[in-house]
Symmetry: C2
Subunit: 345 residues, 2 copies
């Protein structure tokens, strides 16, 4: 069990998730001496849980390659194996992201039609009740046009299946909306996506950083370097504004008086904007379901991550992803054949 406040927040998170997912069972991987007394605090959870003891763990400093080779009995690896073996339907971890991706990719293997798996997550937008999907959030530092077009398909399926959007609008993250802008990868990906008539959504072209949270699109596609930085920039900015607000509201006696009246409304807002609600990045494009929780998540955040995993496990998510990827690649093959025949004329 990884994460800054593990194992307590993991157990408490499971106890929160238990109430929403009545048929859930839990396998906890880690140090039994630590987990058992915690589990005792939640008798209802205990009855649907099992502890799998291991002393070994992946640490944050482990390189993915080292973790993969040397941590074969770590809690992370054993949890992934349990999904592979059919003992569990999904694995949720707040540990080392690189190691988790390396292990999940190695054990689960990628879905047919996927060059590289990606991490997808969702964020609130200006459009009330309409969340937006962002990917890749950090699995692939460099991506080509082909990777990006696959991510568009992955993100659209996520938006449809998990967030319930009927026909997701898909945007490619760029430095401007004009066709001439951006690097070669995004320009080529835009061409690929425009040509694919069978997308599980509607490709709307380029979008900019501010469009992620404006609700302009349901899916924002980018490489893992830019996506990770955009996500964390959004988190940092939200923290800046809310901290400044807190300071302002405590700055004078008059403001403090107003705070009393405003308390319920502000608490509602806090709940709506709570980063915990948006915890749980899914590793998309793998044959098994693996959810990455934020390392700094609290129990509510970890419960959200469990919820994301459970929602996906309860749908036939990966079958749909595989089907849509097949369509994408068939269209691309057709395109190539047509190009060839033109050349042959």
């Amino acid at each position: 069990m990884g994460g800054d406040e593990a194992p307590r927040m993991v157990i408490e998170g499971a106890n929160i998730a238990r109430r929403q997912y009545r048929q859930a069972h839990f396998l906890f991987f880690g140090d039994k001496a630590q987990i058992e007394p915690l589990l005792k605090e939640f008798p209802k959870l205990e009855t649907i849980s099992e502890i799998r003891h291991t002393d070994e763990m992946v640490v944050n400093e482990d390189k993915p390659s080292i973790a993969l080779r040397q941590r074969r009995n770590s809690s992370m690896r054993l949890a992934i194996n349990a999904v592979k073996d059919g003992e569990a339907q999904c694995v949720i971890s707040a540990g080392n992201t690189g190691a988790l991706m390396a292990m999940a990719k190695f054990v689960f293997k990628v879905l047919p039609g996927i060059s590289r798996p990606a991490i997808a997550g969702y964020l609130p937008t200006l459009k009330e009740g309409r969340d937006t999907v962002l990917l890749d959030m950090g699995a692939n530092i460099q991506c080509d046009a082909n990777n990006l077009s696959e991510f568009a398909v992955l993100g659209a399926v996520y938006s449809k299946e998990v967030l319930g959007v009927n026909e997701p609008a898909i945007g490619l993250l760029n430095v401007g909306e004009e066709e001439m802008k951006g690097n070669e990868q995004v320009k080529e990906a835009a061409t690929l996506l425009s040509e694919h008539k069978n997308l599980p959504g509607k490709f709307v072209g380029f979008v900019e950083g501010n469009d992620i949270t404006s609700g302009a699109v349901d899916v924002t596609v980018t490489d893992g370097f830019t996506g990770n930085i955009a996500l964390k920039s959004i988190e940092g900015s939200a923290k800046l504004v809310s901290t400044m607000l807190k300071r302002a509201l405590k700055s004078s006696l008059l403001a403090k008086l107003g705070l009393i009246f405003m308390w319920p409304a502000l608490m509602g807002l806090k709940k709506r904007m709570d980063p915990s609600r948006y915890n749980g990045g899914i590793f998309m494009g793998l044959r098994g379901i693996c959810i990455k929780s934020h390392g700094g998540a609290n129990n509510i955040g970890f419960a959200s991550a469990i919820g994301v995993g459970a929602d996906i496990a309860l749908s036939d998510f990966n079958e749909k992803v595989a089907r849509e990827l097949e369509k994408l690649h068939e269209a691309q093959e057709l395109e190539k054949i047509e190009d060839l025949s033109v050349e042959a004329v």
Copy 2:
């Protein structure tokens, strides 16, 4: 004159800036028939202003190369020429960014020791009263390690000279703080910056997206693709939180009552966080001073952009930049010579 609300916001902005910069004079380039009646509204401004008439203008759809070749009598080009000819000390424009950069680079030429100019701007942080510099905000889609190390020097001089930070802390934007993370460019740039003992600031290593606004560093260095997206993600997120807040505060009668007490504090916050205060990206690394205002800026925003230009024009900014770049490249040359002698041994 470009910008969504030009020419009115330009004239009004100049009138605001006039009060702070008592020795300023203004040259306005554009359609005299439009500018003259506006200027008449501000008699004090009129006495220190001159209109240079031209019918030609750069439009937002112009590619930089086309603007450079075909818009030789545009207001943008004539304004840049005026700085080159010593008639003005800086040019401020809210027009097409790509065209402005192409023209400014062509007319001013780059400073010795610079491979590519960059756009730098500043943002508020969690540390009260401590703003942070971000560059490149969009001039260079792709950057190598050398470009990034030059940007670090540019940003540090900006932080020292314009924001008054004594020894700026410089960070390289990445997807994690660990040395092994990121693309080749940032890893190599980190090595270059760690080896340079004579930086006009302190290189602290990698920082993440949330560190831009946390105040962890005074200068955040990145390529123009990532920088532009990070900047706009921050803007979008700030808008999301403030819009949600507005909705929450109007959601109930009780909240509205509280609003009355809180009004002064909230207005103070609004002023502090006003994007207008942070308007004005400087094109760094050129032999002339060119400031890009946000296209959607209002008069206060445009006045801020004028202020940035005036502050820089009043300092010996470019001389300092040139001196620091010389030190950087000398250190790199020395490094190469040492490497060679090691090989020769």
